[in-house]
Amino acid sequence: MSELLKVPTMAEFMAAGKQPEVLFWVGCAGSFDDRAKKITKAFVKLLNKANVEFAVLGTEESCTGDPAKRSGNEFLFQMQAVTNIEVMNAYEIKKIVTACPHCFNTIKNEYPELGGNYEVMHHTQFLKTLLSEGRLTIEGGQYKGKRITFHDPCYLGRANQVYEAPRDLIRKLDAELVEMKSCKSRGLCCGAGGAQMFKEPEKGNKDINVERTEQALETKPQIIAAGCPFCNTMMTDGVKNKEKENDVAVMDIAELIANAQDL
């Protein structure tokens, strides 16, 4: 790392008697998965660049419980949820941003009934706000004219009707946004949802991520853009399966923007 990332924790803010503008919910993938950690860092660079006063929970963060709930373990999910809510309510958190659509969906939609009420944004929505407020600018630069296709994460798109924020950001890069034949509300799942990420697929004749990658490759993209660390893994594996890893990169929107800024 050339320059140090500024990543203050909630505990530090609390000690200084201050409230951050927003809590960055990093998520398990963003904290531990090698590929997803790069997305986390790219997003933090953008937050630093835009001088956003954010904080993370750090070691006080724990799994939202999404994969437990989707596996059917409602008990474990609610234990996780109640614990997280207790921590966040103690810090009087009002606004949360996260780069993971699963965390986004769970905190936004499933925490309120258990006592956690926050304004929750996906990082693409947050970045879009920073741009429209003029706190961040994008120079298209290295992505100008590149063919980029966007894979809709189910838990961002269908689940929460967020289709345009990531696309608007891609357009801001002066890139050529090419759509797959099934996109937006008809976007095909990458195969990771519903806790499939953590198990072998059931018996079938193809893996879902390969099917989706084939759809993406039909658009002849130079970059497959994703907005979810799990989709990212699945699509990256799909591209490798098709032996296209030298021609097609799978990147998160936050990485595209951070790269365009040479961050």
Partner: protein
């Protein structure tokens, strides 16, 4: 003797409507076997959804060809049935075309019906071709073999016959043809009967008239045994459909109670249960049979018309997995019917038949193939939610039977122990910052 036709008509009407009403009662009883669920909120949004999705067919037209043809049949069906009112009045009073005194308005109406009848007939023929000649993939899945396939075709035959009878009835009604108003299509059919005597033509007209109305009554009663119930249930089903974001899965209240108790430091774990609580059956987590599902799930099952849009959008199904959301709905209905019949033959109470929805109808493999992506929910033109059933059954598998796949058990153990689905220490959560 003079009143015999009217009498016969009245009897047919009473039997036809009476038997249907009896089955509707049974249907409602079966739906009420489901778990209670409060859907009294947000009435204005619910009316809006029903108006847009059921009445306005807004989701049907997402697939333009099938959607357009369906709108034709739907509009035709609704509009042509205005004619049934006249037939009923005629039948009961012994009059003939009681509304024809309305003159040109009558001609306009019948003309509209005739045009619609032709359009419906053509659309239905195309539907039949899609199922039987073009063989669209979604009509050929394994769950569509046997009865579901013949049911689909039977409905189309019914409609073809009814539309033909309507046009023949008009074409052979020489008095109506003499009016020369509204016979916009049937005037071209009349010449086909030019070799017949006036008496034979009258007989054909009477037969067509009778078969038309009897056909409608039979079709009405066929609904309960068919996937075609959607023409009625689409309305309540879209009204009671989910209003929250698709990603928001139901909160299991029974679990919330347990969790709250566990988290409450004031609860004495060794306290004796309060008076009378011993007898209370502990809550069952999740669903293994239809009675565990909510009544809205069961209404969903009766509403499903097996179009297969859900299954054709399902990523698991597309990649050859055993899961088909349509089959989930069909299985739920079949099991519910079985439970209903059990209750009928056991004087109103269910006698354990050693079967249940889970295992006997829906396999674990199907349930574990779901990615919870909501594609099926999005695709359904009448707001059915197969995913909700899948999730309730997973809850039963995990919380009542501990029957999750091993890898998922590992994942859940990790979450329990170290707050992440992978075996990393929670204390290392911020390490990325310095890497």
């Amino acid at each position: 003797m003079e009143y015999l036709p009217q009498l016969l008509f009245a009897v047919a009407l009473v039997i036809g409507i009476g038997y249907f009403a009896r089955n509707v009662k049974k249907l409602m009883r079966n739906i009420k076997l489901g778990r209670a669920m409060d859907v009294s909120d947000n009435k204005s949004q619910r009316w809006k959804n029903m108006t847009m999705i059921a009445l306005g067919q807004s989701k049907m037209v997402k697939r333009p060809i099938a959607g357009f043809l369906h709108v034709v049949v739907y509009v035709g069906f609704v509009v042509i049935n205005i004619e049934v009112l006249e037939i009923i009045i005629d039948g009961l009073t012994g009059k003939h075309r009681v509304f024809s005194s309305a003159g040109s308005i009558y001609g306009f109406l019948i003309g509209t019906f005739e045009i619609l009848a032709v359009l419906v007939f053509v659309s239905v023929v195309i539907f039949w071709l899609r199922r039987n000649v073009i063989k669209l993939k979604r009509f050929l899945s394994s769950e569509m073999k046997g009865w579901p396939k013949s049911d689909g075709n039977m409905i189309l035959y019914f409609e073809m016959v009814l539309m033909t009878l309507f046009l023949v009835m008009n074409a052979t009604d020489l008095k109506f043809q003499a009016m020369d108003s509204g016979n916009i299509i049937s005037q071209y059919i009349t010449p086909w009967f030019s070799n017949f005597s006036e008496h034979s033509i009258h007989l054909i007209e009477r037969s067509a008239w009778w078969f038309h109305i009897l056909g409608i009554l039979v079709f009405l009663n066929y609904l309960y045994f068919s996937k075609h119930l959607h023409i009625l249930l689409a309305f309540p089903n879209t009204y009671y459909g989910k209003l929250t974001p698709k990603g928001q899965f139901e909160n299991n209240e029974a679990v919330t109670k347990e969790v709250k108790m566990m988290m409450d430091p004031n609860v004495d774990p060794f306290a004796a249960p309060p008076e009378g609580a011993e007898a209370a059956v502990p809550a069952k987590f999740g669903a293994s049979d239809v009675q565990d599902l909510s009544w809205v799930n069961l209404l969903n099952a009766y509403t499903c018309t097996e179009c297969g849009r859900c299954t054709s959008e399902c990523p698991a199904n597309q990649t050859g997995k055993a899961l088909s959301p349509r089959k989930i709905m069909m299985d739920t209905r079949d099991r519910l019917e079985e439970v209903g019949k059990n209750i009928d033959s056991n004087k109103g109470s269910f006698k354990d038949d050693g079967k249940q929805l889970l295992g006997d109808y829906i396999t674990n493999e199907e349930l574990w193939a779901c990615t919870s992506c909501n594609a099926c929910v999005e695709a359904c033109p009448v707001s059915i939610d197969p995913l909700n059933i899948i999730m309730q059954m997973r809850q039963y598998l995990v919380m009542e039977q501990s029957a999750a796949p091993m890898e998922l058990n590992n994942m859940m153990t990790n979450i329990e122990n170290n707050g992440a689905p992978w075996p990393y220490n929670q204390m290392d959560r911020l390490n990325w910052k310095n890497e």
